[in-house]
């Protein structure tokens, strides 16, 4: 290995030969043993490595801190259930007997809300109702006669 190649690899991968590409490690070690003056460059590169290594542990997160994140991922992947499953779970939970009763009331509530929302187009007043009732009674009386 010549000096140009060695300098290029040193500038690229740093002083730690174990971090160099595998195919260059042995030749680099041999070159270093036969060129002791190259050691100075290695030491310069090691100075930068030491600065870089000062950040090695700075971004590591404690395993326990990751546990919450791990659970959140599991909830959104393997534990994620369909809306129907979630509804069925809500319907028949182990801890409450009220949910089935509430679920049974659901059609009534839906019917009421639809009934209130739908505009039937005709509005009868109390007066109209009385008039219609009166007419109906009169009709019965005529028939009786």
């Amino acid at each position: 290995m010549n000096k140009v190649k060695f300098d290029h690899l040193l500038a690229t991968y740093g002083a730690e030969l174990e971090k160099w590409p595998e195919e260059h490690r042995i030749t680099a070690k041999l070159a270093l043993t036969s060129h002791s003056d190259w050691e100075k460059d290695v030491n310069d590169a090691r100075h930068l490595d030491n600065h870089l290594d000062s950040l090695l542990s700075s971004y590591s997160v404690d395993r326990s801190e990751l546990a919450g994140l791990e659970q959140a991922i599991l909830d959104k992947t393997i534990y994620k259930r369909s809306a129907l499953d979630q509804f069925l779970d809500w319907m028949a939970p182990a801890e409450s007997i009220w949910h089935p009763a509430l679920a049974a009331c659901l059609p009534i509530l839906v019917g009421l809300s639809i009934g209130l929302m739908v505009d039937i187009g005709e509005q009868y007043s109390l007066e109209d109702e009385l008039t219609l009732t009166g007419l109906e009674s009169a009709t019965w009386e005529i028939r009786d006669e």
Partner: protein, 182 residues
């Protein structure tokens, strides 16, 4: 990162592809710390890094069938997803231009009496001032311990291009440290 034999990893991935939740959980436990750390180093923000890591594994679960363990290591694929998400984040935040316009660190930060914490912050600042691709290359190779081929795959460049990025990053850092050391 927990090292495991490639064939063992391939078996677990095949099980995940078949919908095996236990295999997914195992691979999640093994790879989450390193992926979270990568995102954290890239974004310098633990909360955002958690979001990125979460999205990486959700995509892994949903799209595991698209991954071929014969073509790449799982860690390479996960890093690649994380890297792309980080780039998306930067694009949204317009951080790329912001980084390029960031002020140079002052020499006052390199005084002899700086404690370890201040030196660490100073190095963080120096690295964050690097152009994005140089920074990515340095983080993948130096801190994540990936091979040059893995890092090149993640960045979608050739090994030669990766080496060029790495050497430029290291030269810039070395020059700054030499200029500013007392």
């Amino acid at each position: 990162m927990i090292e495991q034999k490639p064939d063992q990893e391939a078996v677990l991935i095949t099980r995940v592809q078949a919908g095996d939740s236990a295999a997914f959980q195992l691979l999640l436990q093994q790879n989450l710390p390193v992926i979270h750390q990568y995102a954290n180093r890239m974004l310098d923000n633990s909360a955002e890094a958690a979001d990125v890591a979460q999205e990486v594994f959700i995509r892994f679960w949903r799209k595991s069938k698209t991954f071929d363990p014969k073509k790449a290591k799982l860690s390479t694929w996960l890093h690649q997803i994380a890297h792309n998400l980080c780039m998306d984040y930067f694009r949204k935040q317009s951080r790329l231009t912001e980084l390029e316009n960031r002020e140079e660190p002052t020499s006052a930060l390199l005084e002899n009496d700086l404690d370890q914490e201040q030196r660490t912050e100073y190095m963080k600042l120096l690295i964050s001032n690097l152009p994005e691709r140089q920074r990515s290359a340095l983080i993948l190779c130096h801190y994540q311990g990936l091979s040059n081929k893995q890092a090149a795959t993640i960045l979608d460049i050739s090994v030669d291009a990766l080496e060029s990025l790495l050497s430029r990053a290291r030269r810039t850092l070395k020059k700054t440290l030499m200029e500013q050391s007392p």
